[in-house]
């Protein structure tokens, strides 16, 4: 077992170290790091913009690059939080609490240095987890029939929508909308057209890129245009020399770092609890077990490294269900799965055996990419800090161009550029009505596979809907679904908060609510 994993890893390094793959990985982490720093641009929008550029590439290179954007952005987000008190990316919102006070005390460099180190430790742990856990999961998952796959997807979708940010019932509604949008176009089994309203351009369904760019590009731009406050760059002079932590700092950061890592990796295993929840839980835990909890928020190094390590360990861990089961935990993972599907690769447990180059190449590239990020972040911090000063009025019009050309280049079709406008407007209305559009993408990507497996399960069982509870493994998943819904209703009736984030938010009441959302707000200075 371990031997197989290690030989797989060895093979993966061979793939990831091929010159063009290493180049794509570098491009990915560099772009990711950059947009992570830029306020108002998230990894979701960036991956969607880069997605059309990968069509001409080999699948391995494409996925290495897009994956690199994802974890590269996490490194950049920390810089933004610590130096500017700007939680532009939700997972880093808690880092502001102790990171920015440290900056004000002139110890921002140390906080950054230790963050980079903690991130690397967290990420390495997440990768190790992926190496050993994925093959086990795959071995179990290969036994699954359509009924099991179906109920597992249901569990994934429910967890992804109820445990994420915001109201659970609205999250479920968004997932259903996503599943519906996935069914637009020609029905795979019968060949009849659904919801195309006579438009032949919709026969192939709604374009994933148009959906992603509409929801996370245009809708987000509409949300933040003219709302972005000028950035306070008073504390952003950090040199490499400042980043070196003292021995005492290292000692204090050591255990919180590991606690954060473990919390992050546990959160990654529960579908739907992504890096954001991991970082909140980590901060809350660290505060609880600390001997002087009242000092949190005044610039404690523990309050910086623990959530950061947990974010990174969770980001890497999120790849486990995505790559081994084909069930994405959040919208970014759904997008990466979509990228694989565009390349003609069917996600699912057979991926590791059928495309070992993709799986092991990706795992190995995580390590290479993380080392690159550590090396990049230390000398380039000055450049990143300068990039923070790019005003939003230059940023979003340029991004609009990338949105348009990206959607056009997907199929060389202007119709889809029109699609993106409609979806963007719809997405903004949803935002204003208090919906979080991320589960739409989750439902959309899983939609056609869910329908296919549901049909197959029904065909095999001769139309008996109880097949889902009669087969033992499937019954477990269904029971977990019921537990999830039941607990939400129970907490709701008791008036307590069911989702983790608001609970954590109460603890870290220093963050105003709108800061936790993916939105740039006024720095508290």
């Amino acid at each position: 077992m371990i031997e197989a994993a290690l030989s797989g890893l060895w093979y993966g390094f061979g793939v990831a170290l091929e010159p063009h793959n290493i180049m794509w990985c570098f491009v990915g982490v560099l772009v990711g790091n950059m947009v992570g720093v830029l306020p108002g641009m998230g990894p979701l929008a960036t991956i969607s913009i880069l997605l059309p550029l990968t069509f001409g590439m080999k699948p391995v290179g494409a996925i290495l690059m897009l994956g690199g954007v994802m974890y590269g952005a996490q490194y950049g987000g920390a810089i933004c939080s610590i130096l500017l008190n700007l939680p532009c990316h939700p997972p880093h919102a808690v880092t502001c609490l102790d990171g920015f006070p440290m900056t004000k005390q002139g110890r921002g460099g140390v906080a950054l240095g230790l963050t980079v180190f903690a991130s690397f430790v967290g990420a390495s742990w997440g990768i190790t987890e992926m190496i050993f856990l994925s093959p086990i999961l795959v071995r179990v998952a290969l036994q699954f029939g359509p009924a099991e796959v179906c109920s597992l997807m249901l569990l994934g979708l429910l967890a992804g929508s109820t445990l994420a940010r915001g109201s659970p019932i609205k999250g479920v509604a968004m997932t259903v909308v996503g599943l519906f949008l996935g069914s637009v176009g020609t029905d795979l089994e019968t060949g009849s057209e659904r919801y195309t309203f006579g438009m032949t351009e919709l026969d192939d369904g709604i374009e994933l890129i148009a959906l992603a760019l509409g929801l996370f590009g245009i809708a987000e731009f509409m949300n933040s245009v003219n709302q972005v406050a000028p950035i306070n760059t008073k504390y952003t002079n950090v040199s490499i020399k400042d980043m070196r932590p003292t021995k005492a700092d290292m000692k204090r950061a050591f255990f919180p770092m590991w606690r954060g890592t473990i919390i992050g990796s546990l959160c990654a295993l529960i579908p739907g609890t992504g890096p954001t929840i991991a970082s909140f839980v980590a901060y809350a835990t660290e505060k609880k077990i600390s001997r002087h909890p009242e000092k949190f928020g005044t610039g404690l190094i523990e309050g910086v490294v623990c959530p950061e390590a947990s974010t990174h360990s969770s980001v890497q861990g999120d790849f486990i269900p995505t790559m081994s089961l084909g069930i994405p935990g959040d919208a970014v993972m759904a997008l990466l799965l979509g990228a694989l599907m565009i390349q003609g690769i069917v996600p699912g447990p057979q991926l590791i055996t059928q495309h070992p180059d993709i799986f092991w190449g990706l795992v190995a590239s995580f390590w290479i990419g993380n080392i690159m990020l550590v090396l990049l972040n230390v000398p380039l911090i000055g450049i990143w800090v300068k990039m923070l000063a790019i005003p939003y009025r230059f940023l979003y019009p340029s991004a609009m161009f990338f949105v348009c050309i990206g959607v056009y280049a997907a199929n060389n079709d202007f119709f889809q550029v029109g699609e993106v406008v409609v979806i963007g407007l719809f997405g903004y209305i949803l935002l204003r009505l208090g919906f979080h559009p991320a589960p739409i993408l989750l439902g959309f990507v899983l939609g056609s596979r869910f329908e296919e497996n549901f049909r197959r399960a029904m065909l095999i069982s001769r139309g008996d809907i109880f097949v889902f509870v009669e087969r033992p493994i499937s019954a477990v998943f269904v029971a977990l679904c019921a537990l999830l819904i039941g607990s939400q209703i129970y907490f709701r009736l008791r008036g307590a908060k069911a989702d983790l984030e608001p609970a954590a938010e109460n603890i870290v009441s220093g963050v105003p609510p709108e800061l936790a959302a993916q939105r740039v707000s006024t720095p508290a200075e």
Partner: protein, 170 residues
């Protein structure tokens, strides 16, 4: 933008409208879906799943709206919207219009004149939405993005779209 108090109260019921929107969407999906063949559970037709989704969405919409009317809301005041109003504090109608028109300008200019004017128009229109935008700054930004963008997409990535063309059949 000042609103009278009754109007403010009406748009303050955000969840009511959220539920209503889901309800309407679900109804639409169900009605349209029932025109497709439903089939049996064993041999499902193309209309089965969408219709089922539509019905679920109707039910979800009703419960979201009902929760908002029963007074307790759903406690989601910390969402993207922040607050209970549908409109943000400072509505940016002009900026929203510009952002939505920008891809449309791209389509129009792209279809008839090619990538170069399309890029320029797309960035130009979008940039006008910012309240601090000046003509000069907007033109400079659009020019820079056009030069960079056309080089990248036309020469390096070979997107098959003519750089400059004229199709007279307007």
């Amino acid at each position: 933008m000042r609103l009278s108090s009754s109007l403010r109260e009406l748009i303050g019921k955000r969840d009511f409208y959220a539920g209503g929107l889901m309800l309407l969407l679900g109804l639409g999906i169900t009605l349209k879906g029932s025109s497709y063949r439903g089939g049996t559970l064993m041999h499902m037709g193309p209309g089965f799943l969408p219709t089922a989704l539509g019905i679920i969405l109707v039910l979800l919409g009703i419960s979201i709206a009902a929760a908002s009317l029963s007074g307790d809301g759903d406690g989601d005041s910390h969402g993207h919207g922040g607050g209970e109003s549908i409109l943000p504090e400072h509505p940016q109608w002009w900026a929203w219009f510009c952002i939505l028109m920008s891809p449309i300008a791209f389509i129009m200019f792209g279809r008839y004149f090619g990538m170069l004017p399309a890029t320029f128009a797309c960035v130009f229109v979008a940039a006008l939405g910012d309240k601090t935008a000046t003509w000069k700054g907007t033109i400079i930004l659009a020019t820079v993005v056009t030069v960079f963008g056309v080089t990248l997409f036309s020469y390096f990535l070979q997107v098959p779209m003519p750089i400059l063309t004229f199709r007279g059949e307007l």
